[in-house]
Symmetry: C2
Subunit: 215 residues, 2 copies
Amino acid sequence: MMDYKTVSLSDQVFEHLETDILSGKYRRGEIVTELQLCSELGVSRTPVREALRRLFQEHLIEDTPKGTMVLGITPKDYLDMSEIRLRIEELAVRGFVANMTEDNRKELNEAVDFQEFYLTRGDVDHLRALDGQFHEIIYAGCGSRVLQDTLAPLHKKIQQYRHNALQAPLRAKNSVQEHRAILEAITARDADLAVEKMRQHIENAIDRALNGQEK
Amino acid sequence: MMDYKTVSLSDQVFEHLETDILSGKYRRGEIVTELQLCSELGVSRTPVREALRRLFQEHLIEDTPKGTMVLGITPKDYLDMSEIRLRIEELAVRGFVANMTEDNRKELNEAVDFQEFYLTRGDVDHLRALDGQFHEIIYAGCGSRVLQDTLAPLHKKIQQYRHNALQAPLRAKNSVQEHRAILEAITARDADLAVEKMRQHIENAIDRALNGQEK
DNA sequence: TTAGGTATTATTGTATACACGGATGCAGAG
DNA sequence: CTCTGCATCCGTGTATACAATAATACCTAA
């Protein structure tokens, strides 16, 4: 499962910067230079540049004559990403049900179990990480590398965007309950039901992030 | 419209390699080294590496202990990408109709005009380029950067994949006719019809690429 | 005082040098 | 003949030096 090579500085810088951009540490419109990032991160320009090229590819940053401008994602981006997820997450769910192995099912089940555990602890950080895992397990098991590569970045950005949305315990609770419902439908190999539950889950997540109201 | 900066070697290498991978010049499973690419392209490792990082991000290549392995896209990838397009190209079409300006419409119209022109000439290269433009104009005008960023790479890869599919004059003719039909529905601001025409277009493209038969 | 031009600076683009790690091949011992 | 260990080589990861370009600030002249 693990890559043969140890994580390079390039990769670390990429993930570090991506997290900082998505979490809002760098504000939209802010301009940073390569050298500034080098001194902040304590590495040379080579890994910084390679990370920036990847962030550029994801349109999280933009080149300007004065340096690199942070773009991040906007509320509209969030809605657009959710709209796309509403259309194709269905494919992932159906693929997962069709390809499901006992190991896949157990892994997904475990993720939800942990979520319920950390919910009782009010451990928001673990909850958010597990939320990511839940969906990524489905992506990884859907049988389509393309679909995985399309959905995973969207969900990653969405998740960071609503960073604060899951802080409220009630919302986290509903989210976990929805995961449980999806899992049950998947376990029953009822693809139609699982898809419908997933659709509701995404729509609720949009509501949670936008107006903070529960259905 | 043009970027403020001239195209860098990094970008050129990236596009060059991407084209060569998608067109099949590098076969799937083939292993290349950075130095080999450097001497082939006549540049140093820096731009080559930056290009490779981006190709890696798109899962067109893979790192191995012996060098960089070319992955490219498989027939299944092609189907998966088409399946995704079937679901979200609709969003782009609706967005384009909703945001359409006279300039947008003209640009799209011109693309189809040119296609009909080059069709009479049997100029396959121009036809393929214009096919790409047609869809990218829609992506660019759909009002969603996220949607554009999601669809454009898919279409780019799909287009290169069926590289040879448009060689046959009859198929090219049908494709252009379908573009004309989509354009007419868009011009009439009939989003539902445009979406339906687009759906047919994508499904026909799948058939054309896979079994080479026309509907 | 203002406008214009030049010099300086700041930042990126590219090449290259160095270091590290794994794979490979050869040699020697069993 | 085979297996193991060591040395060498090959390839990548990282740092840094150098070049080019564009912005900025300053100085001078009208």
